[in-house]
Symmetry: C2
Subunit: 397 residues, 2 copies
C-alpha cells in the first residue's frame, strides 16, 4: 500500500458515508491543519458553479483557513438554494465539532450533478471522520475523492530554506471533463512553509497557468474544479514576504507539484491509452504558444489519430488553424518525437515505419515550431477512445 507524506502539522482522513447508496467506497474526507494556515485557491471559470465552490471562493478571500472538507459521489452542483444550505450544514457541523470558525472551512465536491447531497447520511458520520484524522490519513483522504480515477495521484517534495525543511504535498483527482464536469479536477496542496497569503496566491496562480490550465481531456469545463493550497508556517522558515530567491524556490517547487498532478490527471483521463505532450516553440507571444498548444491537444480528431497510431499531421496543422490565433501556416514545422513530419506548413517525406513505431508507444510528443518569435508553451492531453464514449454514455444512471 502506498503512503502519502503530509507536511508538518497536517492531518487527514477519509471514510465512507454511502453518498452513492450502493457503494461502501470512501466518499468523505477531511484535511486539518493544527494551526490556521494561509490559503489561496483557483476555481472553475464555468458560469455554473457548484454550491461548495461558491462558498469556498467567498471564504478564501480571507486568506486563512484550517480545514478542507471534500466528498465524491455528488457534486452538489445545479442544486440551487438547497445545495448552499446543505453545504453550510456540513460546514457548521465540522466547525462545531472541531471548535474552529466556519470561515476557516473550505469545501469541495465531485460527482453527479443536479442531485441534492444526502446530508442525512453525511452529518452523522462527521464525528467518525474527525476521529480518524491522523498524520498518515493522506491515502484515505485520496481515496475519498476518487471517482472514475484508476489510481491515486499525489506527490511529496521537500527543500531547504536556511536549514529549515519545507515540505509540499499535492493530492489530486481527475479524470473526465478535464478542460474538466463530472469527474471534476480537484487538487489540494499542503505545505508547512511560512509565506504571506498574497505571495501564496501569486505563486499558485502562476503555477496553475502552466500546469492545470494546460491540460485537456475533453474540452468540457467542470462546475466544480478547485485547486486549494494551505501553508501553515510550521516549518518556521523566515516568513516569505517578497519575491526573493526563497520565493522563487518555493514557486518553482509548487509549479513542479502542479505539473506532476496535472500530468497524472491526463494520464488517467477517462478511457485514455496514450499520454500526449504538445510543445509549441518560437511563437511571437506566450499567449499564442499557449492557445495553439491547447488547441492541438484538445482536438478530437488529433486525439483519435493518436489513438489509431496514425501520423496525421494534417489534423495537427488544421487544429492550429482554427485556434483563432496569429501565426503563419506556411512557416510551421511539425515533429512527432524527433521526426520532422511537416515542413513549412506542407508535407515532407518521412519514414512511416519510424513514426509508426513512435506512435505505438504510450507517450507521444509533438513539437510545433512556428519560426516566428521566442515564446513557447507545453500542453498535455490524452487520446480519445471508444472506452471514453462508453464511460460517458452511462455515467449518471
Amino acid at each position: 500500500m502506498q503512503r502519502i507524506n503530509l507536511p508538518k502539522g497536517f492531518l487527514a482522513s477519509g471514510i465512507s458515508c454511502g453518498i452513492r447508496k450502493e457503494s461502501d467506497k470512501k466518499d468523505f474526507g477531511l484535511i486539518f491543519s493544527e494551526v490556521p494556515a494561509n490559503c489561496a485557491g483557483v476555481f472553475t471559470k464555468n458560469k455554473v458553479k457548484a454550491a461548495p465552490v461558491l462558498i469556498t471562493m467567498e471564504r478564501i478571500k480571507n486568506g486563512i483557513a484550517q480545514v478542507i472538507v471534500a466528498n465524491s459521489g455528488n457534486a452538489n452542483a445545479c442544486t440551487g438554494d438547497v445545495g448552499i444550505r446543505d453545504a453550510l450544514l456540513i460546514s457548521k457541523e465540522v466547525s462545531s465539532l472541531l471548535n474552529i470558525p466556519e470561515e476557516y472551512i473550505l469545501l469541495a465536491s465531485t460527482g453527479v450533478i443536479g442531485k441534492p447531497l444526502p446530508t442525512e447520511r453525511i452529518i452523522p458520520k462527521i464525528p467518525f471522520a474527525i476521529k480518524k484524522l491522523s498524520w498518515d490519513g493522506g491515502m484515505d483522504f485520496q481515496e475519498s475523492i476518487m471517482t472514475t480515477d484508476k489510481k491515486p495521484k499525489f506527490i511529496f517534495k521537500s527543500f531547504l530554506i536556511e536549514d529549515k525543511e519545507i515540505c509540499i504535498t499535492g493530492i489530486a483527482k481527475g479524470s473526465g471533463m478535464i478542460h474538466p464536469d463530472l469527474a471534476t479536477m480537484l487538487s489540494f496542496i499542503l505545505t508547512d512553509i511560512s509565506i504571506s497569503s498574497t505571495l501564496l496566491d501569486k505563486a499558485l496562480k502562476e503555477a496553475v497557468q502552466e500546469s492545470f490550465n494546460m491540460i485537456s481531456v475533453d474540452r468540457d469545463t467542470s462546475t466544480n474544479d478547485t485547486v486549494i493550497v494551505l501553508a501553515n508556517g510550521i516549518s518556521k522558515n523566515p516568513k516569505i514576504l517578497e519575491e526573493d530567491e526563497n520565493y522563487e524556490r518555493f514557486k518553482n517547487t509548487l509549479k513542479e507539484v502542479c505539473i506532476h498532478l496535472a500530468k497524472e490527471i491526463v494520464k488517467d483521463g477517462e478511457g485514455a491509452t496514450k499520454f500526449i505532450e504538445v510543445k509549441v516553440i518560437n511563437a511571437y507571444t506566450k499567449k499564442t504558444a499557449r492557445t495553439l498548444a491547447r488547441s492541438v491537444v484538445s482536438s478530437n480528431l488529433v486525439k483519435c489519430a493518436i489513438y489509431g497510431e496514425d501520423a496525421n499531421w494534417g489534423r495537427i496543422l488544421c487544429a492550429l488553424g482554427y485556434a483563432n490565433s496569429d501565426f503563419d501556416p506556411s512557416k510551421v514545422d511539425i515533429y512527432i518525437d524527433e521526426v520532422l513530419v511537416a515542413k513549412d506548413g506542407s508535407y515532407v517525406s518521412f519514414c512511416e515505419d519510424e513514426v509508426s513505431k513512435i506512435l505505438s508507444g504510450d507517450n507521444i510528443r509533438i513539437l510545433i515550431d512556428l519560426k516566428a518569435g521566442k515564446f513557447c508553451a507545453t500542453a498535455w492531453g490524452c487520446d480519445l477512445t471508444e472506452e471514453y464514449v462508453k464511460i460517458n454514455a452511462k455515467y449518471r444512471t
Copy 2:
C-alpha cells in the same frame, strides 16, 4: 435510383479518376452553367486554408462564375506552392476545353490533407468529365464529392416570382469535422433566379449564419469548407435589385435549402446514431442564444449522454456555463422534448421512464429557456459514439 433536379441552364457530371488509387469510386465532378452566373461564397475560417479555397475566394470576388470543379479523395490542403500549381493546372485545363475564362472556374476539394493531388491521373480524365455533362448528371456529381458520407444530401425547391418559376437545387457533403477537416463540408447551391451578385451574397451570408454555422459534429473546423451559390438568371424573372418582397421570398427559400442540407450533414455525422436539436429561447441577444445553443450541441459529454440515452441535464447546464456567454444560471429551464427536466437551474422531479422513452428515439430535441430576453437560436448536432472514434482513428492510413 434517386434523381437530382437541376435548375434551368445547369449541367453536371461525376466520374472516377482514381484519386485514391485503390478505388474506382467517382471522385471528380463538374457543374456547368450554360451562361455566366452571379455567384457568392462562404469559406472556412480556419487560418490553414486549402489551395482550392484560396483560389476560389479570390475568384468569387468578381461575382461571376460558370463552372464548379470538385473532387474527393484529396483535400489539396497543406500542400504549399505545389498545391496551388496543381489546382491551377486543373482549372486551366477545364478553362481551355470549355473555352471560358479561368476566373469563371471555382474549385473545391475534400479528402486527406497533406498529400499532393495526383494531377497525372486527373488531367487526362477531364475531357471525359466534360463529355458527361448533362441535365441529369446531378447524382453523379453528388457521388463524386462523397467521402465517409453514408447517403447523398440534396434538395430541390421551386417557387414563383411573377409567373416565372424559380428553381433552387442544393447539393452537399458531410460528414466528420463538422464544426467541419477531413470529411469537409461542401455545399453547392444552384438557382436560375435573376438577382444582383450583391444581394445574392447578402442572402447567402444570412442563410449560412442560421444553417451551416449552427451545426457541429466534432468541433474541428476544416481547411476546406466551402458553400457556393450560382444564380444564372435563366428563369427571366424581373432581376432582384433591392430587398423587396421577392428578395425575401428567395432568401427564405435559400435558408430552407441551407437548413435542410445542414441537418442532413449532421444526421450523417461520422458514427452518429441520433440527431440532436438544441433550441435556446428568451435570450437577451441573438449572439447569446447562438453561442449557448452551439456550446450544448458541441459538448462531448452531452453527446455521449444522448448516445447513452441518459437524461443528464447537468451536462447541458454545464455546457451553457462554460460557453463564456451572459446568462443567469439560476433562471434556466431545460426541457427534453416536452418534459421539464431542470427548473431555475436546479433539479426538478420528472418521470425518468417518459424521458428514457424519448431518448430511445433517433431525434432528440432539447429546449433551453433562459427567461431573460426575446431572442432565440437553434443548433443541430449528433451523438458521439464508439464508431466515431473508430472511423477517425484510422482515416489516413
